[in-house]
């Protein structure tokens, strides 16, 4: 049970130095530029598992936003896609494999919160399909469009429930 009934967290996850991997962070920053309700807190995160578990325990509703990399070959020219998942009720296929040997990411955080019995009431994952994750590059135009779209969706959603 969350500490604060009605509380909402939006967590933008990523790394701005890795091209489209910064998508989640950019969504968080876009939202911060809007006037969000007082019960909404916007975070930036690198996906640290303890930080995420902490948020899951403190907030009633949590939106996670992150770039996702699909295993099938992606065309840079095609528009980037947005994926929305109910992380507490759906299996998220693109999160089956972690991306690092020494950090645990959002898939593990979601699994742990289910396993340890401390999930928020609502946990949504928004994935923005990344086209390029090269070090030192800027996000692609397709992903920047998705960043704007996801920020707008979230802004409407969090205002609708206030």
């Amino acid at each position: 049970m969350s500490e604060h009934s009605g509380s909402v967290a939006v967590i933008g996850i990523g790394n701005l130095l890795r091209g489209d991997d910064g998508a989640g962070i950019l969504v968080a920053r876009t939202l911060r530029g809007m006037t969000v309700p007082h019960n909404v807190t916007v975070f930036e995160s690198n996906g640290d598992v303890t930080q995420l578990l902490d948020c899951f325990a403190r907030f009633q509703t949590v939106h996670l936003v992150d770039a996702v990399q699909l295993e099938s070959a992606v065309s840079r020219n095609e528009p980037a896609r947005i994926f929305e998942y109910d992380a507490l009720r759906e299996e998220i296929p693109m999160l089956e494999k972690a991306a690092s040997s020494h950090v645990l990411g959002i898939s593990q955080a979601i699994a742990l919160t289910r396993m340890l019995g401390k999930p928020p009431s609502t946990l949504k994952l928004w994935g923005i399909e990344g086209k390029s994750f090269d070090l030192g590059t800027e996000p692609t135009p397709q992903v920047l469009q998705c960043v704007k779209k996801v920020a707008e969706i979230l802004f409407k959603d969090i205002n609708r429930h206030c």
Binding site: H102, V103, L116, G136
Partner: protein, 449 residues
């Protein structure tokens, strides 16, 4: 002899294949960070070839730093690794202050040590509980382990959280800390924040002790190897920061940090795009917790040494699987050390010292959680970085990891493919390497010839 605390889900080992030529080939899966691949070929009872490929993110950053102001180096290099940013910041400031002829006062040195302790705690704890312990208990991953041992996993997460809190308090932020600069810190935390941290660290110290006792009872695979261990050595402190320290080994190495490149070199290996680091005189070497423990064990805090003495477990540094116990020991030492240093914390103390600009070369080396992290910077008179050299611990351990795999496979050819592959993954995780991987980062394709 270690005891088994509880048996969880075990993998089903397949029947041993006949001992002809076996190939264990692990292909790379597309990842955000880079590549990790393993190839082992055996013929009969002989291991013919071992090739481990690891991506090296610091290579990009060396180029990235050229032309930037030296004050940017701590913030830029901290982004090389998400779990050990402090190590990169500390090695960077150490090298840059060496170049600029700057020596920070003891008060700043102590706070840097506290900050570094926080990183050791969070990095080692994450590795012990979430990445490595599942191997020893036969679980697929930490999630499955959490199902059977929720209290253990919660304990680990709490301990990691308190490590994060040290980094947040003195680094300004848990992730990509922003408070470290050449010459010291940008700001010092309030006394009330440090007092709250101290109360949490007292609880963390108890959890750290419980961690040592727990991991010392895990079932340990047998493997005996012969290592040249290399670590920093300080006259009185367990190795962490590089100040007043030399680089030593158990085979006679004893050099100043600025002599690193006279004695070590990076060689290109045909099967991988990563460079291997070797001692010019003798070849492969090992860095990290086992090296530190073997070379400077007596400098652990008194309480940490007491706990080691109470264990019903003898640490054998030649068995790399014992590294999980040594990491737990270092977690306790780090918490204990941080507490002793914070006892005299002064929020009104010196924040930083002035630094100038000069045309110079500087060398720095500190002990990242995974081992020595070496930085060298050449600066121009206007303060820009002309050249940077960064040698992380994981690339220094690559050859040793390959040797361990060679030894491990040779002793375990009777195992089925799945079991042997898991054992190889577990052996690689002894080094907590910075490579891209999943819980099973090695996909195995067996080719029988």
């Amino acid at each position: 002899m270690s005891k088994t605390p509880g048996i969880g889900k075990r993998r089903n080992a397949k029947k041993s294949p006949s001992l002809k030529t076996r190939t264990i080939k692990v292909d790379y899966l597309a990842r955000v960070e880079g590549e990790g691949a393993l190839y082992i070929k055996t013929q009969g009872r002989e291991v013919k070839d071992v090739q481990l490929k690891i991506f090296e993110p610091p290579r990009f950053f060396e180029a990235f730093l050229r032309g930037r102001q030296f004050m940017e180096a701590p913030d830029v290099t901290s982004r090389i690794c998400g779990i050990c940013p402090i190590a990169y910041q500390m090695s960077a400031v150490s090298a840059l202050e060496n170049a600029l002829g700057v020596r920070v006062p003891e008060s700043i040195e102590n706070l840097r040590r506290v900050l570094y302790c926080g990183e050791w705690v969070e990095s080692h704890t994450l590795h012990i509980y979430m990445l490595h312990a599942p191997d020893f208990l036969g679980y697929e991953d930490a999630i499955r382990m959490a199902k059977d041992h929720p209290k253990i996993v919660e304990q680990g997460l709490q301990l990691k959280k308190w490590g994060n809190e040290i980094v947040k308090t003195f680094g300004g932020r848990e992730v990509h800390p922003i408070n470290v600069k050449v010459g010291g810190f940008y700001a010092l935390p309030k006394r009330s924040d440090v007092e709250a941290l101290v109360e949490n660290l007292k609880r963390a110290r108890d959890l750290a002790e419980a961690t040592i006792r727990w991991v010392s009872r895990l079932p340990m695979p047998e493997l005996t190897m012969d290592y040249e261990f290399v670590a920093l050595h300080h006259p009185s402190e367990y190795p962490m920061l590089g100040t007043d320290s030399r680089l030593i080994s158990n085979r006679g190495l004893d050099i100043a940090v600025n002599e690193f490149e006279d004695h070590f070199e990076e060689i290109h290996v045909a099967h991988t795009n990563a460079l291997h680091s070797v001692l010019k005189a003798r070849g492969e070497y090992a860095v990290g917790p086992m090296a530190r423990f073997h070379l400077s064990r007596s400098q652990l805090t008194p309480r940490t040494l007491e706990i080691i003495g109470e264990l019903d477990f003898e640490i054998v540094v030649r068995n790399p699987f014992h590294s999980i116990v040594v990491r737990a020991i270092e977690v306790h030492h780090a918490v204990d050390k941080a507490l002793s240093l914070l006892g005299s914390y002064d929020p009104n103390g010196v924040t930083s010292v002035n630094v100038g600009e000069t045309d110079a070369v500087g060398y720095g080396c500190t002990e990242a959680p995974r081992g020595i992290l070496y930085h060298r910077y050449a600066l121009a008179a206007d303060g820009t970085i002309r050249e940077a050299q960064i040698i992380p611990p994981t690339s220094q351990n690559q050859k040793t990891i390959e040797s361990d795999l060679r030894g491990l496979v040779a002793r375990n050819l009777h195992l089925g493919q799945e079991e042997l592959t898991h054992r190889c993954e577990q052996a690689i995780r002894n080094y907590d390497p910075c490579i891209s991987c999943a819980t099973h980062f090695l996909k195995v394709r067996v080719e029988s010839v």
